[in-house]
């Protein structure tokens, strides 16, 4: 097979695998939050919210840092 197609397929697999992983993680976390809330485990619920907030902050900070350093 043409190596253009091979490298394209590899890039697409990485991209789509990343999207699927992120979607799975969001659904899983949403499920855990609902369970914790319904069970009255607010400490666990707040812990997840804080973790999500920290992850989003880290993600945005990483993007901004990459922009600032001219990497992207």
């Amino acid at each position: 097979m043409d190596d253009l197609v091979v490298s394209g397929i590899i890039a697409l697999v990485i991209l789509y695998a990343g999207i699927v992983l992120v979607a799975y993680a969001i659904l899983r976390l949403a499920g855990m939050m609902v369970q914790a809330f319904l069970a009255g485990n607010f400490l666990f619920f707040c812990g997840i919210v804080i973790c999500i907030g920290a992850a989003v902050l880290a993600y945005v900070a990483m993007g901004l840092w990459l922009r600032k350093t001219g990497t992207i």
């Binding site: 253009l4 394209g8 890039a11 993007g63 990497t71 992207i72």
Partner: protein, 362 residues
């Protein structure tokens, strides 16, 4: 005399028009040029170079979205594009078997390269800009671009080298060794040219780009030009409509203008209102226009980046389509200074030929 295959992408006319000066230079040096393209790009080049040979060479559809979902829709379209690029490459191999060529020049057609014939890629985008939330995809795109650039002997970037005169900003910055080794900054390449005429038009509005955003902008502009003082022409840029001209007060509305008519109107205009597509911006630079209002196509990340970049540089004012207040925005354009002086197409194509193309053709 060498034989060159030139193949521009047919996503708008930008690729075809910026290749015109390159084709003209090749022909003026006595080389034979075969143009392989499709759609409007092929029609425009056929008009401009009636004596050249042509090959109908289909490319792939534009995956632009109608709204603000460009990135997700583009990602979803990638497998189809990959398939189309592979087909495009197979077609090129068949073309090269039929006729001997000394050089292949691809303007942004990713499948147009060969192991057997030296291949040159023309692109102003060595790097794709995406909105911040998509930064991992932007990094992945750097790797994908590296893999694509490896297939070409050289890459012509129609921009000045990175620095104060760079027209494409980060888009034309080589970020991998593969790109750095191959890149040749030709400076701007534009199909338009300066003509001797008086600037008797206050405004020229060029409504272009993919549908349905072209129609949305047309409605917004036609609704608001009544508020403006001065004379103006609106180019609707819709080749599907019958050619018609209508007048209303000091304004003229033209459904479609030929390349020659557009060149004349751009030369006559004191202020240009247009999309921030890279080819249009090179036209502004070529004509030395100091006043323009840029309206990026919503969701087109490249145009949005260029608009932002020019605002930062103090070159041109931009406004997003939905927040356009024509009278106010045109007043703001007076505070901007336009592009700085830079080498023009004639000088650039001469240097491009002497320093790069001649090495493959003579």
């Amino acid at each position: 005399m060498a034989h060159v295959l030139v193949s521009p992408l047919n996503w708008g006319l930008g690729h075809a028009t910026r290749d015109m000066p390159v084709i003209r230079t090749l022909l003026s040096h006595g080389h034979e040029v075969t143009i392989a393209a499709c759609g409007s790009a092929l029609s425009v080049l056929r008009q401009e170079f009636p004596d050249s040979r042509y090959i109908e060479y289909p490319d792939y559809p534009v995956p632009f979205s109608s709204g603000h979902l460009f990135v997700p829709k583009f990602c979803a379209a990638l497998p189809f594009m990959l398939h189309a690029v592979a087909q495009e490459h197979a077609t090129l191999e068949a073309i090269l078997v039929k006729d001997p060529y000394d050089l292949v020049i691809s303007d942004n057609r990713l499948g147009v390269f060969s192991d057997k014939v030296p291949s040159i890629f023309i692109s102003h985008q060595l790097h794709y800009h995406l909105p911040l939330p998509y930064w991992p995809i932007e990094i992945l795109a750097i790797l994908v671009n590296q893999s694509l650039h490896e297939r070409y002997d050289r890459i012509i970037v129609p921009d000045n080298p990175p620095g104060p005169l760079s027209l494409a900003g980060k888009l034309s910055r080589p970020q991998t060794d593969v790109a750095r080794e191959r890149v040749f900054f030709s400076g701007l390449l534009s199909g338009t040219r300066q003509i001797a005429c008086t600037q008797d038009l206050d405004y020229l509005v060029v409504i272009s780009g993919p549908e349905p955003q072209r129609t949305f902008l047309e409605k917004i502009i036609l609704d608001k030009i009544r508020d403006l003082d001065g004379t103006g022409v609106v180019l609707l840029g819709d080749p599907k409509r019958p050619k018609a001209t209508s007048r209303s007060g000091d304004w003229t509305c033209v459904s479609y203008a030929s390349t020659e008519e557009k060149v004349e109107l751009m030369n006559r205009a004191r202020c240009v209102i247009c999309r921030s597509g890279y080819t249009t911006l090179m036209e502004l630079a070529e004509l030395g226009k100091k006043r323009a209002l840029l309206i990026p196509t919503p969701g087109q990340t490249e145009q949005e980046y260029l608009s932002w970049y020019y605002e930062q540089k103090g070159w041109y004012h931009s406004q997003v389509q939905d927040r356009l207040d024509l009278a106010d925005d045109l007043e703001i354009t007076r505070r901007y200074r336009g592009f700085p002086e830079m080498p023009k197409t004639t000088e650039n194509t001469k240097r491009l030929y002497d320093e790069l193309l001649a090495g493959y053709l003579e």
